[in-house]
Symmetry: D2
Subunit: 339 residues, 4 copies
Amino acid sequence: MLIVLDRKHDTPLVEHIRALLQQKYNCESHLIGENGRVIAVPGDTAHVDIEVFENIDGVKSVDRVEQPYKLASRRNKDRTEITLRPGTLLGSRAHLIVMAGPCSIESPGQMDETAAMVKEAGVSVLRGGAFKPRTGPYSFNGMGEDGLKLLRKAGEKYGMATISEAMNEAQIDLVAAYADIVQIGARNMQNYDLLRKAGACRKPVMLKRGLSATLEEFLLAAEYILAGGNHQVILCERGIRTFEEEVRFTLCLGSLPALREMTHLPIVVDPSHCAGRARWVKDTALAGIAAGADGLIIEIHPRPEEALSDGPQSLDREQWTDTMHGIRAVAAAVKRTVL
Amino acid sequence: MLIVLDRKHDTPLVEHIRALLQQKYNCESHLIGENGRVIAVPGDTAHVDIEVFENIDGVKSVDRVEQPYKLASRRNKDRTEITLRPGTLLGSRAHLIVMAGPCSIESPGQMDETAAMVKEAGVSVLRGGAFKPRTGPYSFNGMGEDGLKLLRKAGEKYGMATISEAMNEAQIDLVAAYADIVQIGARNMQNYDLLRKAGACRKPVMLKRGLSATLEEFLLAAEYILAGGNHQVILCERGIRTFEEEVRFTLCLGSLPALREMTHLPIVVDPSHCAGRARWVKDTALAGIAAGADGLIIEIHPRPEEALSDGPQSLDREQWTDTMHGIRAVAAAVKRTVL
Amino acid sequence: MLIVLDRKHDTPLVEHIRALLQQKYNCESHLIGENGRVIAVPGDTAHVDIEVFENIDGVKSVDRVEQPYKLASRRNKDRTEITLRPGTLLGSRAHLIVMAGPCSIESPGQMDETAAMVKEAGVSVLRGGAFKPRTGPYSFNGMGEDGLKLLRKAGEKYGMATISEAMNEAQIDLVAAYADIVQIGARNMQNYDLLRKAGACRKPVMLKRGLSATLEEFLLAAEYILAGGNHQVILCERGIRTFEEEVRFTLCLGSLPALREMTHLPIVVDPSHCAGRARWVKDTALAGIAAGADGLIIEIHPRPEEALSDGPQSLDREQWTDTMHGIRAVAAAVKRTVL
Amino acid sequence: MLIVLDRKHDTPLVEHIRALLQQKYNCESHLIGENGRVIAVPGDTAHVDIEVFENIDGVKSVDRVEQPYKLASRRNKDRTEITLRPGTLLGSRAHLIVMAGPCSIESPGQMDETAAMVKEAGVSVLRGGAFKPRTGPYSFNGMGEDGLKLLRKAGEKYGMATISEAMNEAQIDLVAAYADIVQIGARNMQNYDLLRKAGACRKPVMLKRGLSATLEEFLLAAEYILAGGNHQVILCERGIRTFEEEVRFTLCLGSLPALREMTHLPIVVDPSHCAGRARWVKDTALAGIAAGADGLIIEIHPRPEEALSDGPQSLDREQWTDTMHGIRAVAAAVKRTVL
């Protein structure tokens, strides 16, 4: 355990803390740095109540030097592999999963046509939104359960796994009843009741990173689901908010190798939401794979100009085909096969 | 309406769009800038389906040049004043509200003792958390309804209005049954079901700004509540996430005058969560008032060293008294009286 | 000294490092945390070559637990007070300095007229830019030495100290020859040759914080000047770049109390550049004082609509008078007198 | 030209502006949006003095709807190809340049050994720092001109082009005398005198993006060099500062396709400085290529544990070989050949 004192601190404070450690918790301690600004406590400190020290005026921070997330940590597990359907394995070193489909499910025709596009490209997961979180209260909110039915029907017809977003606790069960993967959106990354409910769900859950979440907070959010008993958690990096204004969000591809060392959970990259423009999606998708992602989730639409949501960032047929060619080539370069 | 084209665009695209405007919507248009990069459409464009143009490849953005929030806009209303209790008016030009209390309600004794501290300082709103959102799944989660009972009891005993946070839809009703103001936390700012539920609530709702929310997104979230019929919405600025690391969050006080021009809703500043250290709270609180806030919400505790949450940023009795002296002095300097 | 290992580390690495510490530097060490992820080295470690350990694969960071800046640190000095002119003291607890004037010096008439406005308001430092850094190469670049002559003349006529910006090494001497304070702009905060030159200067230097500088980097930049022998360094907080878009820059007022604990150097706040709009300057200025600033630097212009630069954020006569009334009132509330 | 008014604006202001446009500049105008919040001025507005309108109180912004950079714009040129040495072409669609070498030139042996490593890997540009910008004043500052001599000698011996950083105006000439490419660092991106001097230089200049620079500011800085007559400008994306803390800087790979549309200048990605850890460099480098970079600049060292600067992020021989294999594979996947 490390107790870091404020820049302004004095000897009586240091002695008070060391005495407390010795008398209350039987812990030795050592002084580190300029005038002993850090008090280092070696050995096991699981029995020490950390808040006692955090609350002392003059203490800047207390760190047990342990990861606050346990189940999500890579310390005890190397990789989580999740079987989405028989033969569709996410998280394996050798494979790569592509998920694609429309932002919103809009009609039977649109769903079927898009599913056919996905199938033709040879990928294995179909996405489609039935409940849409919208920044303002006056926008299209999705088809609801009717949309989920169309999604399942298309998945079954073309033999693909399906993924759809749940926005509240009741929708977790509903989405899980129709789709193979339940998605939790970036805005809900710290909606703890929703995470707990997802922990009780028996389907894989894909958790998107919040716009301003640190990687530690991201893994702590995943920990809520894991702690509920659901070990099939997929992380999705979709970009953070920075001052960069030419793209919608800044995709942290440089952090992927760091995240990979922190956790055993599979990592999917969403190139559509950060790019914001269909013609920038391909390069971003390829970069995601090169950076080590286990999968991609991409928005496509047979006629983006008619899409009810996210049209500008949805790939049309030609862009989609071209992007998939690029994806297969880069996947091969990093020795992975697209499933 | 302004249609902004991509840097790379050509004449056929421009002509296509202008023809569409003319034929489909009977709209004139004018070309602006370098090779007509912006197509300006004067007059009323309410009948134009904006997504038709957004989805055209080569269009960068379409802007109706209207605020997407209507009810929250200052265009049609100058100030919203909310009576929290008889005589306790939030949002008036002449007054200033201070809300104070513990982060978590911990016990009858702690609640009563803190309420007495709040009352002695002459302020009028008592805060106390019964449900605590925690970043990790292994922390103290609050006393729940029992805590709310203690809060109401203390509020009644000392004649103060009360505020407490609701984290999910069911808690909105529960908190509203016991407290005078329902708080929605920063992590839930875009939890739309929760916002809709708050819109159906008949108590004032204080909405905290999300860590990465723009002011427009903040007002759109407020719009959800207003659109539900609840016009008693209070905005709370509590700091955003930036690279600045010495404090927990970066408080955007410089944006307060801008926010004031955008909306008529009262603005409360939370100096505790951004400072993160009790001894930095006073200066931050004073700055908030000088910047034009309508109120403050401050965490205090009779014995911060024993607090179950947020101890490091909770003011003790002496700090609290000193801070209130400062607040009254600066309030007088900006011609406001603390209620 | 603390040596933090990567999350992935093993026993042989830990033993290798401890042996190196023992054999090469005669240092004891202790293991902290989960599997000994931190190696704590108590006592004096000034003789240890820190880069030896930083370069070991598997070491995440090495921290001597000392502030990297020495001369700027508050550890050995409480306050730096700088006499700008006889009777004009910056950095004292009891006083507050206001600096005001045009962004650019444009003509003898404009300089004199503005200086009269500054003098009437009873403040003591006149600002005026003779060399202007401009984002693009095609804008007005300032009057140069002729401008400095006008600034000095106005300062002498009205009995005020003067401040002007130097953009390169040669300009340091030139500005110092005419003005009482040499300003280094935010874009040059890490222009080390310029900082060294400023260290050799015998006039006070005001260093503006870079748009993306941490407080530690800010103080390390100040350290360059101090290390050159110039102890009259003034820090200027002018806002950082974040995703917040309604104002030009995000002013970190909440960090002022933290900065005050880190350093003894006086802190001036620039409310003009972050606000970007004249009518938002007043509230921001008042907030700066309430947050504990030692001074303000404000752009004013007799006719902002004719200004050659920064017109939109320059106060006109009426706004300036009103702002100074507010400043005096808030200064009194925090027990300081405006000089 | 578009004149955007503040949210609060009135009819007299609108009429005043339109009258001014008509009478002073003979320009028609049209009102756009809610109560005419935008005044659109079609056609050529080159004769209109934009600052006249910017300075009017109530005007939020004025936009000529032109790119403020001209020479850097892709509007008039598709690609800039730069011949670094005969046969070494940067910026062509078919090729990819890798630059590699030590952060600091330390000794004849180290330089020669590293150059051999670079040569063996078959790449064509050797980097090496002779002048080092250091955050604090107490660190190693580089070998200066002696280092440049070693760099040139190694470049000649192994037949490679060379690149080295200049930190001030005098160093531009010095570096240009010894190296084939002059580098300007991120901290100096807005050091305008340095940029002007680089504009007068006849060697290619590689300009690194500032930590908080927007893409527009980045191109405006390049414009300074281009406007000086030096058309051989290379852009280097090296990461921006965000709240993301696991890596040193956040690399904006998702913005590369946007930058490519804005400018014809070649774009090099630096995976070393953003990763900060040698073992994260490879994935980041591969992602850069997949995102469309024209080149990479990578720090390597024969013995990173002995490096005088940037040891932790320097690749050793084995990592370097492995990274180059990966680079060649991904380059082939995106149909480019490494020169």
